[in-house]
Symmetry: C2
Subunit: 423 residues, 2 copies
């Protein structure tokens, strides 16, 4: 998964604010910033948690509310194409993950989609019994698998440290569930190598792309990945709790029988017959009626990605994060900040984590200054770099503010702040 | 489930358009109509499929888009209370279904919530193996149960005609799944009697309230119902595909272990530990991040129901549907319309179905004239009566238009229309 951007970005690490401004002026992605409704006065380093509202999403929400629901009511399912939105939005995400249009569908949440695919894989597992995932994976992936294995007698979930996974995949394994970019460290799995390893043992692999999609080039087809899921409210800016997506490689679609078999996944839903019969392709994995206002927001947001070059996005993402790390580490060891992400940008997604003994208090102080990052217990400060609306000068300014807050912390200790939760 | 409204409504069945206008002038619910953004020129008899946009919902959507997501971004999960919306909206629905605030939660779709409850019930089924539901129930309920029983060895789904259900519930049954108001005929189950019957056999019962909630008084507590689910985009006007709700009677909540165990159902989701531990109460049934724009619409829509007297709603619902039936049947048998709903309004929900050999074509003609009903194969014309925005005069006018279209049909045969799907 080597991108062309890494070497180029290392070559242009700016050393002054003016050099940052010069990079912004030359940035081939600079025009994208106008697609976003950025609130004034903040530097938003949390697009890896909730992406920024786009102009297009705001318009589509208003249109769906007033001109569609408000005016055409029930007929909107047909005349405004609501009924086909899961497939239509899936087809728009497909090129971002290296899939064909009919291999991706938008529906439900990432958690529910993981359960759908894992339970469907369990139905056709033959005499294999084991699912493998990473210890320390994003919790919902582990929890949903724990629920599945608690329900079905004979299923087993093995949770292993990252370095033990490849060797643990064996002839008893029917499914491996891995997250491409780790939600804390941002460390990348080698999708191609792990997929090949799973296939060599006759197992299927499911990739969670929540922290990858929209941030770096992904090629599910080239990797021969079996299944994938992902969320759309991070780098895709689909809105809070935006519907998630799921992918099944085309040659596997016909044999995969849904367990969450809802009426909109039926071959003929409007015949209202008593017996479930799966629709063709991805459609069989639809369940209930999709939340159309949230789909509308995602529909708008995806228009930003329509003709995008993800290699340019990756290149700038690496440049921004490398700049951030370099500016922080230039301040010396007295900051007590310790890089908790891979140093090699080729092994890292689009966020960077630093551990700090007072990380929680520091993040609160930064938020108070308008620099929005987030905190992951027990001590990680997490900063996301979204190349479509962040500028080099934003990184420069954010680190200046972080430096001031670190100085304050060294002089006065952490501010008294109460812990609160962010997703 | 006898409501006080039936006799009163029968006493005032109007015989002229002027009498309809007089009833509207005296209607204690008349003021509610101003809460809705009704498109001009139509009579909307499909609120049982997709409710009308409210003024409050439009405002909340705009607020959540611009002032919350657009401005406060990730911090909105805390400062705007997004994270607690599933419980908050559940508490607002609770009085409409006769539940306590902590017995109802809003999340996911009706289909997914049914699977959650049925699979959780399956985990604690002991040595019982059977789920019973009605043949001809709304398909998604049957399909989701078919998926569950296909996954778990030893589970069995029995689908029976309505009249055979009570006697079929036996010591091998762990769950009965019934829809309170039938989606086609509008026929009501006797919730109290069936629940008692299930309990007498040691089984649990799950009520699907999709076609009841917001249309008639429901008292889950008085019936001692175990579980319930329901959708919010029909009579509650929550918007297209609005998030659904689920109910678990409080004394059952502690022992019900989720199968769809997502991170937001964890006791401490922001500790990010590897092992799932269920949160207290209903919260454990949350899965992924909730779609907040769709929640916002429902939040607005529910404000209409805040201090509502559901007995008044039921009374007017019966009066409108009785008027509709009476005006149609007064036209004599040459209409070829056959009532396909219970004649006794006490045994009927808030919609009325008529069978007609050319029902599909007639519904299309009506829609062309601005009278919006819907069609259910093979020959049902379905009309919903939503007392909060429909007037007696609307019913009068709708039947006049229906009469004209029936005349045209008798003279010229059905118009050439192509079949399309509505949910």
């Amino acid at each position: 998964m080597r991108s062309s951007g890494a070497d180029a970005s290392r070559a242009v690490s700016p050393r002054t604010r003016e050099e940052c401004l010069a990079l912004d002026a030359a940035d081939p992605l600079a025009a994208y910033r106008a697609s976003f409704k950025l609130p004034p006065g903040i530097i938003y380093l949390d697009g890896n948690s909730l992406g920024v509202l786009t102009v297009a999403a705001a318009q589509r929400i208003e249109q769906t509310t007033t001109a569609e629901w408000g005016t055409d009511l029930i007929q909107s399912w047909n005349i405004h194409g609501w009924i086909n939105m899961p497939a239509r939005l899936g087809a728009r995400i497909a090129p971002l993950v290296g899939a064909a249009a009919d291999e991706v569908m938008v529906c439900d949440s990432t958690s529910v989609n993981l359960f759908k695919l894992a339970s469907a894989a369990a139905r056709s597992r033959g005499n294999r019994s084991k699912i493998i995932t990473e210890r320390g994976n994003f919790p919902t992936d582990a929890y949903m698998l724990q629920g599945l294995t608690a329900l079905v007698p004979g299923l087993e979930l093995q949770m292993l440290p990252r370095e033990q996974i490849a060797t643990a995949i064996d002839r008893d394994t029917f499914l491996v569930v891995l997250t491409h970019v780790h939600y804390q460290s941002a460390e990348l799995f080698d999708m191609t190598a792990l997929t090949a390893r799973a296939h060599a043992a006759g197992a299927r692999i499911l990739w969670d792309l929540s922290h990858s999609v929209g941030a770096l080039p992904i090629d599910l087809s080239a990797a021969r990945a079996d299944f994938a899921i992902g969320c759309t409210y991070k780098y895709l800016n689909g809105g809070p709790g935006a519907p998630a997506f799921m992918y099944v490689r085309r040659d596997l679609q016909g044999d995969l029988q849904p367990v969450l078999s809802g009426w909109l996944g039926h071959a003929k839903p409007f015949d209202f017959v008593d017996e479930y019969a799966p629709a063709e392709g991805m459609t069989r994995h639809r369940c209930g009626t999709p939340p159309m206002l949230s789909f509308a927001a995602l529909d708008g947001a995806l228009s930003v990605f329509e003709h995008i070059d993800m290699n340019l996005v990756r290149q700038k993402s690496i440049a921004l994060s490398e700049l951030f790390i370099a500016l922080i580490e230039a301040q010396g060891p007295e900051t007590a900040l310790e890089l908790a992400s891979p140093r090699d940008p080729e092994r890292r997604g689009s966020h960077v984590s630093f551990a700090h003994v007072d990380g929680y208090a520091l993040i609160q102080q930064l938020i108070g200054r308008g620099v929005i990052g987030d905190f992951r217990a027990p001590k990680l400060m997490r900063f996301g770099f979204t190349p479509l609306y962040l500028r080099y000068v934003d990184i420069w300014d954010a680190v200046q503010i972080l430096r001031e807050e670190l100085d304050r912390w060294r002089r006065h200790g952490p501010a008294a702040v109460t812990r609160h939760a962010v997703t």
